[in-house]
């Protein structure tokens, strides 16, 4: 059975959920082989978790250098392995960096690039991906016709299925880096996670828009989110007004989310916002304007003041969870 290379997404040796999603997808296509790029010792930290999710192999491409250079060490590791094992496919997370890794790798190995897959299946000898395009208004099936398929998979779209894997460790030598060809990381301010789930991984998302009115008022959105165990999102207008940080923006130029439940507070529902959330299973909206387009796609809408409705909902949820 061919190997399927999976780029491990991790923070200092702690795997992100998307890594397990990719391993689950890889098992449908062949033998999952996890590729860890990081500082020496990283693969050892990750090994158990990768084994529990079906990784037959764990390739360790480790060097101190690798952590100070953007993107290219990951491309180097995957390209080296792609040549060595001729994988059935390479899977990377469809994060901002993952998409860049995928693009460079496809160029380097002459493989077909398939971005933002929401599903991956084996079909005869082919790997067929499903993509949701134009903000979920089209569903497309595609495959690579030349070279190894290089696929970026959208976080949160594949169910994690635990499985036992041997996780046999093997090290991969990273080529020396030519300083003239790379950006060097001189400073890092990681996102402090907090207790909330990640936006693209959460099964419930509560988002606030311009209607929330201020950064302080976003506490109302956060309180409801915390009662529901949800992630917090924001519209671009809320981000542009400085109410909430950019990384939480949902929409065309922000994150695409597809949770079980999406609650929109004070968001008009412009087409570009809908592009990032209209594939959510259930949508609830609170807006004081009965004409707001968000109501056209909401399964349950309340025409009213979010400052009254949201706190009452928070209280009800807390009561029921008791």
């Amino acid at each position: 059975m061919s190997e399927v290379l999976v780029l491990v997404d991790h923070t200092d040796g702690e795997a992100k959920k998307v890594t397990f999603e990719l391993l689950s997808a890889a098992r449908r296509l062949g033998e999952p082989a996890a590729v860890v790029v990081g500082a020496p010792g990283t693969a050892a930290k990750l090994r158990d978790a990768l084994a529990r999710h079906g990784a037959a192999k764990v390739y360790a491409a480790e060097s101190d250098e690798a952590t100070n250079v953007l993107v290219t060490p990951k491309v180097d590791a995957l390209a080296t392995l792609a040549e060595r094992v001729s994988p059935a496919a390479v899977l990377v997370p469809s994060t901002l960096e993952g998409k860049e890794v995928a693009g460079r790798l496809a160029v380097r190995i002459g493989g077909g690039l398939l971005v933002e897959a929401v599903d991956v299946v084996a079909d005869g000898g082919d790997v067929v991906v499903t993509q949701s395009v134009f903000g979920g208004s089209y569903v497309v099936k595609a495959k690579a016709t030349k070279g190894t398929p290089v696929i970026s998979v959208r976080p949160g779209s594949i169910d994690v299925e635990p499985a036992e894997g041997a996780a046999a460790e093997e090290s991969v030598e990273l080529p020396a880096l030519d300083a003239a060809k790379h950006g060097r990381i001189t400073d890092r301010q990681p996102v402090v996670g907090g207790d909330r789930p990640e936006l693209t991984e959460a099964s419930v998302v509560v988002s606030g828009g311009r209607g929330v009115g201020s950064a302080e008022n976003f506490e109302i959105v956060e309180k409801l989110a915390d009662a529901l165990g949800a992630a917090v999102g924001a519209s671009r207008a809320a981000v542009d007004s400085g109410y909430y940080p950019h990384q939480f923006q949902v929409g065309q130029t922000g994150k695409t989310v597809s949770p079980q439940l999406y609650i929109a507070l004070g968001i008009s529902g412009a087409i570009q916002h809908r592009a990032g959330m209209q594939t959510s299973k259930t949508i609830v909206a609170v807006n004081k304007d009965p004409e707001a387009p968000i109501f056209e796609i909401a399964d349950f809408g309340v025409v009213g003041d979010l400052f009254k409705v949201a706190p009452q909902l928070t209280e009800e949820v807390t009561k029921r969870k008791g």
Partner: protein, 260 residues
Amino acid sequence: MNIVVLVKQVPDTWSERKLTDADHTLDREAADAVLDEINERAVEEALRIKEAQGGEVTVVSMGPDRATDAIRKALSMGADKAVHVSDEALHGSDAVQTARVLAKAIGTVEGYDLILAGNEATDGRAGAVPAMIAELLGLPQLTQARKVSFDGSTVTVERETEEGLTTVQASLPAVVSVTEKINEPRYPSFKGIMAAKKKPVNTVTVADLGIDAGEVGLAGALTTVLEAAPKPPRTAGERVEDDGTGGTKIAEYLVGQKLI
């Protein structure tokens, strides 16, 4: 500083975007075509750098004839000249092919120090072309920048991703892609619009770039679309006026749906 800015004409996100039934490529007739907003920001950044340091701004775009409108918009904002790769053979090119063509087109611009691009196009959302160009040209990649600064021949960017903020440094020439937090693009002035009409646009074919027509477009693509279907639009569900019990009603609805 001589700057190349990569700009793309895309279907307006405000209009309904469609794929053609024939070959599942973008239906260019269905939606209004505009200069992608992120590329307005890339042009704006190029102009600010030029205003501070001097030099020339060259716009490079690959797209059908009508992409001229997007190129003119960039010129009317203040870019100096343009290279437009336009060729029937390009129809249906995928990201790898697009990057290869753009890398060649960039090669026709003499003495560039910086290549600026948007981080992600609103149509294909590949979010990869700038990185792919860096790969092809063997240049440092400083992508997802919300801030760009220079010190002699060193460029520094503040990169923003899901991981947080990183400061990344490289020496020029380099490829920089910008996010929507980079700046607010200017509107073209009347004078700028008039001046743009006279600015040079060098329209080239793939043959002019030394690329074989069989390597680009649907025929040479490394990927293929097997099927594409519009998703039925969502319909509105229940809607109530808040009579003081709106929050409770949502809670009851969520209980009914087994969501809490």
